[in-house]
Amino acid sequence: MNDIPLAGTAPKAELKWVGTRGPRPDGLDKVTGRARYGADFRLPGMLVGRVLRSPHAHARIRGIDISKAAALPGVKAIVTRDDFRDMPSEFVPAGEMMVNYRDIVRNVMAREKALYEGHPVAAVAATSASIAREALSLIKVDYEVLPHVIDAAEAMRADAPLLDETMITAGVDPAPTKPSNVAKRMEFSTGDLKAGFAQADFVIERSFATKPVHQGYLEPHACLASVNEAGQAELWCTTQGHFVVRTHCAKLLDMEMSQIRVIATEIGGGFGGKTVVYLEPLALALSSKSKRPVKMVMTREEVFLSTGPTSGAHMKVKIGVRKDGKITAAEAELIYEAGAFQGSPVGPGCMCAFAPYEIENARVIGYDVISNRPKVAAYRAPGAPISEYAVECVIDELAQKLGLDPVEFRLKNGAKAGTRALYGPKFGPIGLVATLEAAKNHPHYSAPLGPNQGRGVASGFWFNIGGESCASLHINEDGSVTLMIGTPDIGGSRASMALMAAETLGIDVAHVRTLIADTDSIGYTFLTGGSRATFATGMATVDAAKAAIRQLCARAAKIWEISEDAVVWEDGHAKPAGQNAATFPPMSLAELAGKAGKTGGPISGHAEINAQGAGPSFGTHIVDVEVDKETGRVDIKRYTVIQDAGKAVHPGYVEGQFQGGAAQGVGWALNEEYVYGADGKLQNAGFLDYRMPVTSDLPMIDTVIVEIPNPAHPFGVRGVGETPIVPPMAAIANAISRAIGTRLCELPMSPPKVLKAMQAHKANGG
């Protein structure tokens, strides 16, 4: 294995395919309905799986009686907590992740307690959906209903109901003697905070709150599992990482990985929410019991009730600044809700909070808090949009206080190559300043505003990651190329891989087809997440293409009967070089492919890498809003996303990522929230009441791609999928504050809250 691939060649000055907007390989099937998503797969003899979920936010499970359900004709299998082995509480490797299977097994199926409304308690496989539903109604669960707690701040109180009576807060010295709902405290700091604030001429300190928001993928979770009598399993599922699904299912069901083949179906959105398992182990367990294929599909209500949103949070941010506009110190306290099990994204929230700025003295303290909500899952740049929202609002207020243009204020303090991040290392080449300059010079930034309108700006940062990826590139007999990768395509990566392969091979991209291989057909590949696919699998693709080129050159050398060293690859052709130059006419890839059988057999290139050197990405957003003074409704009038992509391999997909992040951010900013009743039950588990933005809520979102190449990638690629959701909430909050003259510090900024803020402002003489 090439554990640490070399940086590769520097980005070429002129590229033929990388950077072009070719046809989208997934487009036709998606718009014609031909694409096969998780729920589209069927097998002969297939059963329908359904989940019985807790109606209580917090309850001890004293007993489960399945006898009547099991006796119902048509019921073929039932699983409960008794079908899953308990796991110790320890963090163990699962692929590239460190996970606690004690929590995962309990989230998949409740054991001692149901910890949130919707927590799975049992699952049934039956010959029809109606029988499965009837069976669920016949399962008798003896609950002891317990007091619940939903909000993190309330969950931190000493008298709050405890979800886990064994949880002792980690990261505190000395360790607490009593359990609490605070799973962990963490701290990041640099410099001398006290001295930094002493240098400040102005200090602004504000408190902020955000609500949990769901990733809102259109396609609900779905899978089809088939386990035969020999214990060999096949699993079709919608996922961002089928290898991760295999890892978790093997562990939870005590199976060898080689016995589980996972096929990633077309995926209808994930945004981080499809990096974990919910239905998959249940379907496998039901199939294993019934020896029949079992299909499970969540309803939208189940998606809201039991799959991960991102955290709600309570935050305090304090920033000091000199009159000349230089930030002298910054401090933040972040409390993130993890849901029923520990593991909120407060860590990256802490690390990202002040990342866009050069601040010598700073400290961020974070708390990971559990409460009676579904366990959070990753959501685009997990943790960063929350903390950076709060920071970017204070940055904007400071700019107003100083009478500085908000872009100029950011330029005065913006991180650049050599800036030391709060979490330690110095940045390499980064694009924040370039995005700010582009914002300043964009026509949007100087366009006149109408009545009741305001313009907001915010910047954002996300690390991006690399990791393990494989690629297998096969040269077909006719010179076309089949490229197999292991990262499900959620944002256009099939097109990006094809472009990078074509560029490296020197052939027309129309001759390259990219497929997502199942877990038995390619080596371990970490999931599509962390904005890693185009970066890491792209590096593997380039390496695989280079490996194929080495073979192609070797074949040409054999045909010409010259040394392999005397053959070079240029523009899709093998050419004799050195003293043999011009001795033989160049041979194209197609010609060599046609002779492959007679010259040694098929030609393929493979690469198995652990990609390192992911380049961080920065973005700056500009938004214009108009506030209805009668109702408090906010209309997005104009929106521009500017972001450093390193190198946009397929600019159309990159722009789509920018636009999608902004659109999700609009929902997060203005309307989306989980609403709980006093009984701890979710009141708005559906798209009618959970208000996501629709086309009529959005203007055309303009985009500007900035390209500061990542030196670690052969084409300079940085991940682009996550950063676009970081700035919108603050940009919109800043725009609203400038439109109405007062600042809201709580998301969502829904019409009632905006109206109330305007009324309070007016009452105070504003």
């Binding site: 010295d173 963490m186 979490y423």
Partner: protein, 81 residues
Amino acid sequence: MARVVLGPNLRRFTDGVDELEIDAATIQQLLAKLGALYPKLGPHLERGLAVAINGTIYQGTVLAPIPPDAEVFLLPPIEGG
């Protein structure tokens, strides 16, 4: 010798030591030497970390070379969505 910086979250296990010099050619060697120096730190190193070497973050790999006089930070692992 690499200059190794430990953040506040790890400093708790090194009796307050936040910076030290270690002669290590790879991440693997670095983690082994740190674990030997500070046994209480060992379990936290095994949980998985990201390691920033001269500004480049390495994760899920123990074979990355550490150049002489490198600046090294130990960070929590970074995932994503």
